[in-house]
């Protein structure tokens, strides 16, 4: 290479480095980018059933109502108020201030259309079981009143509808058809409108400044970009580079990288996802003593203090503080006591120990594999001969759903109100996930679902959870504290259910 070539090469490289260093600037007023872990794949708001999307679509289209963790109760939004006319009939009164992007009001017809046509009857909907499991009919009483009829008394109906029911325009659906209405004419009554969706990459929403909720919080960002970032390293690096201003789910071992930056902070929040060890009542777990021995064998406090670096809250029953029906005085408590575990195993007829296989997902929950690895020596110290299996998630989940896994580590999310989760895992015949059956528990769970007096309902729930803790078809482990990385320019309190509401953010201009 001669001198002239070398000079050209050096100049070209210098120009390239300068050019690469130049970031493209765009001209939004205020924009917050959020690194999220779930994929955003479809324009159809009813075509997926994942937590993140319920939040985003609720913000574009409503939400219908919401759960306030501060108050521990449900709050009205599009549905301003509601009443139970009789045990199977609910009346929802809509706000007259919610308007679609084209200025037309959101009416009872739109709510009925969304429930009946989009959620229940549309074969493309994947939300019927999550949003309207017991709803058999919805009808407009007048322009702003909706009557909802269920097939059985459903006291926890709001836990299905709030933060989940997406209300879209009937007029747009009728005029353009489903696909075009979703893709090109998405109409919502929420404080944000959908601006761009590139499946697998990003979703962008833009604020509607004229919306009542937007007027209440003028510092809410003008635009929010949700960027799919599945890798934790990627989310942390993007946060450090100011590519994103909010990053979901920073694992405890990476938090120090974020905390070292003066512009960033870590905000922990107690998740409403309950983590547990499930045990099918088949040998050896058909004996209550064996199930209880498992619960006594695991030192939850030690695992939380070491592997989780304190970023989890121990569960002594199915629920923790802030969740509906939580009872701080719930008894019994199956504390860490390996000697008791050994005695219980001996009582169950296994004085020499017993072989068990614990199955866990890998990478689905915070440090799931590492946490269950730590449980194995604890179980062995208590007299079990435990082995850990780590099947791929789709395989494990399908087997759990079919009831073929006897012993597994699992999480159940979105437990603001525990009714659905308790029925799903512990009520006789609901699902084969655990295959547990206890007539007394069934009776209590049926009663709580039909009881509209909150005080009585909490009592039934508490009694049911007491039976569960004692009979131990599952050992309740902890709720993770989810770590969110936040740029100091953004004020935001993440929610325990991991939904993201841009309208609650405040951006420093």
């Amino acid at each position: 290479m001669n001198r002239r070539h070398r000079q050209t090469l050096v100049v070209s490289l210098a120009a390239l480095i300068m050019f690469v260093g130049t970031r493209v600037e765009t001209n939004a007023q205020t924009r917050v980018s959020v690194g999220v872990t779930e994929t955003i794949e479809t324009h159809n708001p009813y075509g997926d059933s994942v937590s993140l999307l319920y939040g985003i679509w609720s913000e574009v289209t409503g939400p219908f109502c919401t759960y306030s963790y501060g108050k521990g109760d449900f709050e009205g939004r599009l549905a301003e108020r509601w009443k139970v006319e009789n045990p199977t009939t609910w009346i929802f009164s809509l706000s007259k201030n919610y308007k679609f992007n084209d200025g037309s009001p959101v009416t009872a017809e739109d709510v009925v259309h969304s429930i009946m046509t989009r959620v229940i009857k549309d074969p493309q909907s994947k939300q019927k079981a999550s949003v309207a499991p017991s709803i058999v009919n919805a009808e407009a009483v007048d322009k702003f009143t909706v009557r909802v009829i269920t097939d059985k008394p459903t006291a926890p109906l709001l836990s299905f509808l709030c933060d989940r029911l997406i209300v879209t325009s009937k007029a747009a659906f009728d005029k353009y058809g489903r696909a075009a209405a979703d893709k090109e004419h998405m109409m919502g009554g929420g404080p944000y409108r959908l601006k761009e969706l590139i499946p697998g990459q990003r979703l962008v929403i833009a604020k509607r400044p004229d919306h009542p909720a937007a007027k209440k919080n003028p510092r809410a960002p003008d635009e929010v970009v949700y960027r799919v970032m599945r890798e934790t390293e990627q989310r942390v690096t993007a946060l450090l580079n100011d590519e994103v201003q909010i990053a979901q789910f920073i694992p405890p071992h990476l938090r120090q990288r974020v905390e070292k930056s003066r512009n960033l902070k870590i905000t922990p929040v107690d998740s409403v996802e309950i983590m547990f060890l499930a045990m099918q009542p088949k040998p050896p777990f058909d004996k209550k003593e064996v199930r209880q021995a498992v619960c006594h064998a695991i030192n939850r406090d030690q695992i939380i203090a070491t592997l989780l670096e304190g970023f989890a809250s121990r569960l002594d029953g199915p629920l923790g503080p802030g969740q509906y029906g939580y009872d701080a005085n719930l008894k019994p408590k199956l504390n860490y006591d390996p000697e008791r575990a050994k005695k219980l195993l001996a009582q169950a007829g296994f004085p020499g120990g017993v072989d068990v296989e614990l199955q866990t997902p890998v990478g689905r929950y915070t440090l799931d594999k590492q946490l269950t690895e730590a449980m194995i020596p604890m179980l062995n110290a208590a007299g079990f001969r435990a082995r850990l299996l780590t099947p791929e998630w789709a395989t494990l989940w399908a087997s759990v759903q079919k009831g073929t896994i006897p012993f597994y580590y699992m999480g159940r999310g979105s437990v603001q109100d525990p009714s659905a989760a308790l029925h799903q895992y512990f009520h006789t015949g609901e699902t084969p996930r655990i295959g547990y059956s206890n007539p007394k528990l069934d009776e209590l769970l049926d009663k709580e679902q039909q009881e509209f007096d909150p005080k009585k309902r909490r009592q039934y729930l508490s009694q049911a959870m007491s039976i569960l803790t004692d009979d131990a078809p599952a050992c309740f482990m902890w709720r993770h504290k989810l770590l969110w990385g936040l740029n100091n320019r953004v004020e935001y309190q993440p929610l325990p259910d991991a939904r993201i509401y841009a309208i609650d953010m405040k951006v420093r201009r």
């Binding site: 493209v24 075509g47 059933s49 079981a129 599945r230 890798e231 690096t237 450090l240 590519e243 789709a394």
Partner: protein, 333 residues
């Protein structure tokens, strides 16, 4: 030539049939149930039964396969369970991103590997040969997912000169016409978007192309070493040609045939490698689509993407065979 082409095209039919059968059987044999994975945590038995009926999963496997085959023959891979849209349409929206990424990977790999290979092969056992061989070994041995994370940490993290992921910065690109961002941006003379696209594609293309780079470099070196001792090279030297001209005009051009074969074969590897790289870099191509489809056990979509890759692989091989005749006039079909 045309008889040869017809023969080759006819030969692809059993290949495609066999692949379709294998993919269909394997994906159905894999544990996991799309209804249970797609209908959400709170689904119940009645919902699952309805979905199975709707998606045709309640029918015998051979009926499902024959139905798939009949539709595929008419260019229809069915409807995706997850997206509730025709599989062909879903793949069409994602394929340009993968092709764009593969093109950049090839450019990076060939631009670096061929000069390095020629240089190393023409100076055996020199320091440049040792360096080139080491680079080649490094490229072949490096797992793309690990390299991808390292590139993010270095170029996006420590140096902060490239974006961590994605295909473009929001608000920079103009309206999408063809799905090929670079082409669209060039046509619109949107230079910031061109630059933005290049900064986004560099890391994934490098992570994807490094393996190909290693292989190409080693193949080029071997081919050059072989050609260096040919009589026409000795003659060229005897005529007094400068060594530079001997190497680049006479040696390199004649060493290209095995290199073209490897480029063709490696194109298929690039497509499969893109599955990992696209996932790490949130690159919205058909590779990340395949991962999403596999995780959801979206049978029609998985089969559709794999069949698309198979057809691409077959087409690439045909094109490569055609290129032989252009590069080496002695080859005639």
């Amino acid at each position: 030539m045309s008889a040869y082409l017809i023969r080759r095209l006819a030969g692809t039919v059993p290949v495609l049939l066999l692949i379709s059968l294998l993919v269909f059987l394997l994906i159905h044999a894999a544990p996991g149930d799309p209804t249970l994975l797609l209908l959400g945590e709170e689904t119940n038995a009645a919902e699952v039964a309805r979905a199975k009926e709707r998606w045709g999963l309640d029918r015998p496997l051979y009926v499902q396969y024959l139905k798939f085959l009949a539709a595929a023959a008419a260019g229809d891979f069915g409807k995706s369970f997850k997206y509730a849209e025709p599989v062909i349409g879903v793949i069409k929206t994602r394929l340009p991103a993968t092709i764009e990424l593969a093109i950049f990977s090839i450019i990076i790999a060939t631009l670096l590997a061929i000069p390095l290979g020629v240089w190393a092969g023409s100076r055996p056992n020199s320091w440049i040969d040792n360096l080139g061989t080491t680079c080649g070994l490094f490229g072949i041995s490096m797992p793309s997912f690990w390299l991808a994370i390292m590139l993010i940490l270095l170029l996006a993290g420590a140096l902060n000169i490239l974006p961590t992921s994605g295909r473009s910065t929001y608000g920079v690109a103009g309206p999408e016409r063809t799905g090929f961002y670079l082409f669209d941006s060039l046509m619109q003379k949107n230079w910031p978007a061109v630059w933005d696209m290049l900064t986004h594609v560099f890391m994934p293309a490098l992570a994807l192309g490094v393996n190909m780079l290693g292989i190409l470099m080693r193949v080029t070196r071997s081919a050059v070493l072989e050609v260096m001792n040919e009589e026409y090279v000795v003659t060229a030297r005897a005529k007094g040609l400068a060594e530079k001209n001997v190497v680049w005009r006479h040696v390199a051009s004649n060493a290209l045939i095995p290199v073209i074969t490897v480029v063709g074969l490696e194109l298929g590897t690039l497509l499969s490698g893109s599955i990992i790289v696209e996932t790490v870099f949130a690159w919205p191509g058909s590779g990340s689509l395949l991962i999403t489809a596999l995780n959801a056990r979206d049978y029609p979509l998985v089969t559709g993407v794999v069949m698309t890759y198979t057809m691409a692989f077959v087409a690439i091989n045909l094109i490569i065979d055609g290129l032989y005749a252009i590069v080496d006039p002695r080859i005639r079909y």
